[in-house]
C-alpha cells in the first residue's frame, strides 16, 4: 500500500488551481443536492415575502407597479443574507474547512469556488424566479427584463460580500445578528443602484450608467472579496 521512497515533493507535483477549484465547487453542489430542503429555503422565503406584500399593504396595481422592483430586491437581499451562515458553517463543524485551508492552492481561489457554488444555489434560482414574481406585482415587461439583469449582476455581489461576513463570524456561537449588522451596510449601495436602475427604466431614462456602476460593483467584489474572506477564514480558524 505504500509508495516508497518517501521524499519531499515539488509543489508542481500536485493538482493545479483549476482542478482544485472545480473539486471544491463540485463537492458543494453535490452536498447541496443531497439536502434539497435547504436549497428550497431561500426560494420559499423570497416567494413568501413578495406574495405577502400585496396582501399586507395594498393590492392596487399602481402601488405594486411603483414598489414592485424594490420589494423584489429587498426580498432577494434578505433571502441571500439568510443563507449566508451555511456558507462555511457546516464545513467548519465537520472539519472539511480545515482541510480546505491546508490545501496547497491559494486559499482565496478555493473560497471563490465555494462562493460561486453558493451563488449558483441561492442567487441564480432567485433570478430565474424573478420574471414570474415580476408579473405578479404588475411590473411592465421592460422593467422585468432590467430587474432580472440587475439581480443577475447584483446577487453575485451579495454572495461575495456576504462570504466575508460569514468567514469573520465563523468562530462565534450566535453569529446571525452580528453577520447581519456587518453585512447590511455593505449591501445598501447594491440595493440602491439595483432598484435605481429599474426606476430609471420605468421613467424612460437611460440606464447605461446604472448598469456600468453595478458592473463595477461586481468586478470590485470579485477581485477583493475572496482575499478578505480567505484572511477572515484564517483568523477564525486560528481562534477555534
Amino acid at each position: 500500500m505504500s509508495n516508497n521512497p518517501v521524499r519531499v515533493h515539488a509543489v508542481a507535483e500536485g493538482v493545479g488551481v483549476a482542478g482544485a477549484m472545480k473539486a471544491v465547487f463540485m463537492r458543494d453542489m453535490k452536498v447541496a443536492f443531497r439536502q434539497r430542503q435547504d436549497l428550497l429555503n431561500p426560494l420559499l422565503f423570497f416567494v413568501m415575502v413578495v406574495t405577502l406584500f400585496p396582501l399586507g399593504v395594498s393590492p392596487e396595481v399602481s402601488f405594486l407597479r411603483e414598489a414592485g422592483a424594490g420589494i423584489l430586491w429587498v426580498a432577494a437581499l434578505l433571502s441571500v443574507l439568510l443563507s449566508l451562515d451555511h456558507l462555511f458553517r457546516h464545513d467548519f463543524d465537520d472539519g472539511t474547512l480545515e482541510q480546505l485551508v491546508l490545501q496547497p492552492q491559494p486559499l482565496f481561489l478555493l473560497v471563490l469556488a465555494k462562493t460561486l457554488a453558493h451563488w449558483m444555489l441561492t442567487g441564480l434560482p432567485l433570478v430565474i424566479l424573478t420574471p414570474v414574481l415580476g408579473i405578479m406585482v404588475h411590473l411592465p415587461g421592460n422593467s422585468i427584463g432590467i430587474l432580472c439583469l440587475t439581480l443577475l449582476i447584483g446577487t453575485p455581489v451579495l454572495s461575495l460580500i456576504g462570504s466575508i461576513g460569514a468567514a469573520l463570524t465563523l468562530g462565534l456561537r450566535s453569529a446571525g445578528v452580528l453577520l447581519s449588522l456587518l453585512i447590511i451596510p455593505l449591501y445598501i449601495p447594491v440595493l440602491i443602484f439595483g432598484t435605481g436602475t429599474v426606476a430609471a427604466v420605468s421613467e424612460g431614462a437611460p440606464v447605461g450608467a446604472y448598469l456600468a456602476l453595478m458592473g463595477a460593483f461586481l468586478v470590485l467584489a470579485l477581485t477583493l472579496a475572496p482575499f478578505a474572506s480567505a484572511s477572515a477564514l484564517k483568523i477564525s480558524m486560528s481562534n477555534s
Binding site: 509508495n3 521512497p5 473539486a23 463537492r27 482541510q99 496547497p104
Partner: protein, 212 residues
C-alpha cells in the same frame, strides 16, 4: 541522519492568559515518530495546529527543510498531511466521494486506488453508503484511508486512535512504524499508550522535550 523536515525553535503559545508552553524546541527528522504527550488542556492539539499552520497565535521560529516556514506555504502544505479531531468527512457524501474530494485538492488518484484504500481500512462494502449512516469509528476510518495513499513526508495526526477498535489501533501502530522505516516523519498526539522503537517524545505540561 538527514536534515530535519520541521524544526521548532523557542516556541511559545499563550491561550486565555495562560502560557501553554514556552521555549519549546525540537526537530522532526525524516524516519521518526514523535509523540506529543501531556494531560488534557496542556496544549497538545494547539501545538499540532501551530505546526500545521492552522493557528497563528504563537511566537518563536518554525523551519521547514531548513528555511523559515513563513515563505514556503505551498511547499509546506503540499508535503504535510494533517488529520484533526474533526475528521473532515461530509456526512451526506459516501466514503468514496469524501475521499475523492479530499484527494482532489492534493494530487490525482484513480478511483481504484481510493477504493482499495477504503478496503484497507476495513470499509469494504461501505463505499456507497452515506457517511452519516456509518459509526463514529467508521467515519474516522474514512479519514484514515488517506494515510494509506498519502505521499506527504510529514504527517501531523491529532488523536488518531479515538473511536478506533483494538485491531484498528494495532494496524495504525504498524502503519506508523512502517512509515518511519520508509523515511516519513510522523507527529502524533495521543492518550493511547503508544510505544514504538526510537520514538521521540515531547512532553507538554512540564514544558520540556526529550528523546527516548
Amino acid at each position: 541522519m538527514s536534515e530535519p523536515l520541521l524544526q521548532a525553535v523557542n516556541l511559545q503559545c499563550e491561550r486565555d492568559e495562560r502560557i501553554l508552553f514556552r521555549d519549546l524546541s525540537f526537530s522532526v527528522l525524516p524516519g521518526t515518530v514523535t509523540r506529543v504527550e501531556g494531560p488534557n488542556g496542556s496544549g497538545k492539539t494547539t501545538l499540532l495546529r501551530i505546526l500545521a499552520g492552522l493557528n497563528d497565535a504563537w511566537s518563536g521560529d518554525l523551519y521547514w527543510c531548513g528555511e523559515p516556514r513563513a515563505g514556503q506555504r505551498e511547499s509546506f502544505l503540499r508535503n504535510m498531511l494533517y488529520l484533526g479531531h474533526r475528521p473532515g468527512i461530509k456526512p451526506l457524501l459516501t466514503p468514496m466521494e469524501n475521499l475523492r474530494a479530499l484527494m482532489a485538492g492534493r494530487r490525482p488518484v484513480s478511483d481504484e486506488v481510493l477504493s482499495r484504500a477504503l478496503e484497507g481500512t476495513g470499509l469494504a462494502g461501505y463505499q456507497k453508503v452515506p457517511c452519516r449512516n456509518l459509526s463514529a469509528g467508521q467515519q474516522r476510518r474514512v479519514a484514515l484511508a488517506r494515510l494509506l495513499i498519502a505521499d506527504e513526508p510529514l504527517w501531523l495526526l491529532d488523536e488518531v486512535f479515538t473511536a478506533i477498535d483494538a485491531d484498528g489501533v494495532r494496524a495504525i501502530e504498524a502503519l506508523l512504524q512502517q512509515r518511519a522505516e520508509e523515511g516519513g516523519a510522523v507527529v502524533v498526539t495521543t492518550h493511547h499508550d503508544l510505544k514504538l522503537p526510537g520514538m521521540q517524545r515531547i512532553v507538554l505540561g512540564g514544558g520540556q522535550s526529550d528523546e527516548q
